[in-house]
Amino acid sequence: MFKFFAAFRKEWLILIRDIAGLIVLFLMPMIMIIILSLVQEYGWNAIAKEPKINVLFVDEDHDSLSSLIKDGLSSARIFTLITKIDSVTLTKEKARELVRQGEYQIGVVIPKNATNTMNRKVKVLVTQFISGIMMPVNNPFLEISVKDSVVVEIYFDPAVKGTFKNAFTSSMKQYSLKIESSLIFKIFNKELKRMFPQYKANEYEYKETVVFKEEFPSGDKEEIIPTSTQHNVPSWAIFAMFFIVIPLTSSIIKEREEGSLFRLYTLPVNYMTIFMSKVGVYLIVCFMQFILMVLSGMLILPLFGMPALDLGGHYTALTVMAIATSLAALGYGILIGTIARTHQQAAAFGSVSVVILTALGGLWVPIYFFTGAIKEIARFSPLNWAHKGFIDIFLRGAHVQDVMPEITKLLIFFIITMGLAGIYRKMKPPFGS
């Protein structure tokens, strides 16, 4: 144990003497978590707060349908409607061209006579319905069919994401359905009044019959609101923690290249003791990185108008989870540092593999979007276990016992990677092969 602490002290001194390295180790993850959280926040969530997306709106109808769609889009507060470019009213062709060039992401064209066509169609349908009730047999009126639909053209920039495109199209359908049902109701009233003069028409007011109550069940009595901060901080914290692979592998390879390893091999000390001293020092670094990133989420992100990270009071679960994640990252780093021959190999493989494991782990795209083999592979990513554990704690109010499966998997991963590093060292020693 004495030799372990001596090696730990040496490793610690080397680390704290490298000021630039320390800045990179602690400042970069903080900057990363702030920048990436802000980018995601402003990219997706903040658009709900103030109009951000410019929509080219070509009104060829100049009637109630286009006016209602315009009002609907404006009231959504996500979009800014552009009807003129350089004081010139937009045409269909101009809008199409601007979207094609990528200057605007969406263009909507309400065609000529759209209101008339819709009115006519709805009127025929309502009249057929009413006259069908009045005279169900041999009613020539029932034979009339209105084939034309109102075709609203929507142009999308090919660079627009599918999910966003679907969300916009759904909104448009929702507005048109509201308008259509409102129209049906009005025409019904009108027709009934015409047929039955004694009928007293009601003023139409659209009210949704089905309303949705959103809830986020958590293990706690108090509901944890899943803000973007609650999602982003654990994801990016895990990502940054796994990047400890780079300085750790660098420390192992440096020792080899500078010749210290030669002497270490001649000393009466098991090399596993040296490995473990590195793990000890970098475990502290990793844990401190995690604390700093959590503090950034709690104290710095709110300064940018983002919601503060809510720890939910589960400090024990968070601590154990952070240690298990750190150990998994360190085991992986030790394994890469042992196998890689050069800094370049370690840095390239280390960083790319962490990015791949991050993607597979569902840190960028949630794992429930995955299908087939990728979904199965994703379950073997240690970053996925860590992510699941942290999300359970941050969003579902999980306690230590709830995340024990993830903690166990991460610890097993650490033991396996350390074991593999040891076996590799034995089978392929750095000298004499």
Partner: protein, 250 residues
């Protein structure tokens, strides 16, 4: 040479992966207690390979090594306690001070506390480094680094000291201090095995030398005796050139 050999090498051979030629080929050698034994040879002759095997860094392809009566293969931990190794490269951590480096290496031999610190300071003082004990190695000159590198292998007063070209690339003053110190500790009973390219240095320092080339020992004996056996060559360097040739080695 008489007495008990402290190092016995029997038919030692080492092949590196992918090489058809052995780095050392069936070497047998005995080194006796209290000797300063020089292993001389051109680049790639097999000196470092031999030293590395003797230090327990890796195993030979075949052959046996006994150190102080212990089979190195089965008693590596015990052997490591009684040997000191000074590698060719400066095996020190550049951002640590001389004191911190030496404390770490001393700790690895189980030395600690005031006893270790006193030992370090005495040795640093001998090598004229006590004033820079708390300065980082990265600020040291090549000669200073070599001196600290040597101290790191001496802190536990090893019975046997292996030195792989300890004076390469350093100033004359540093070389004199190092060689004087080696003579000093040899007088107190430390057996020294060292490799060098400097023939004159070996001639003055060593009680015996082995000239090794292409993995084979081609001559062995007391340097003065070797010179007297070949009077036409006048010194060890000429004998060395005669035996190994003038062909450039990489």
């Amino acid at each position: 040479m008489s007495g008990n050999p402290i190092i016995e090498i029997r038919e030692l051979t080492k092949f590196y992966k992918g090489n058809d030629e052995p780095a050392i080929n069936n070497i047998s050698l005995e080194i006796f207690n209290g000797e300063i034994f020089g292993l001389l040879g051109p680049n790639g002759a097999g000196k470092t390979t031999t030293i590395s095997i003797l230090c327990g860094l890796f195993a030979p392809t075949s052959g046996k090594v006994n150190i102080d009566g212990l089979d190195i293969h089965s008693n590596l931990d015990q052997v490591k306690q009684i040997i000191g190794a000074v590698p060719q490269d400066v095996a020190l951590y550049p951002t640590l001070t001389a004191l911190e480096n030496l404390t770490f290496y001393g700790n690895m031999y189980g030395l600690k506390g005031k006893d270790l610190r006193d030992k370090i300071m005495v040795k640093l003082s001998f090598f004229g480094l006590e004033k820079v004990a708390k300065k980082s190695i990265s600020t040291f000159s090549g000669g200073m680094k070599r001196r600290v590198n040597l101290i790191a292998g001496l802190l536990h007063n090893p019975k046997i000291l292996f030195l792989d070209e300890p004076t390469v690339g350093i100033d004359v003053q540093s070389r004199i201090v190092i060689l004087d110190y080696l003579k000093e500790i040899n007088k107190t009973g430390t057996t020294i095995i060292y490799t060098s390219h400097y023939m004159e240095e070996a001639e003055n320092l060593c009680s015996r030398v082995a000239i090794i080339d292409r993995g084979i020992i081609i001559s062995i004996g007391n340097p003065k005796e070797l010179v007297s056996e070949h009077p036409e060559y006048k010194n060890l360097e000429n004998i060395f050139i005669h035996l190994t040739g003038k062909e450039l080695r990489d």
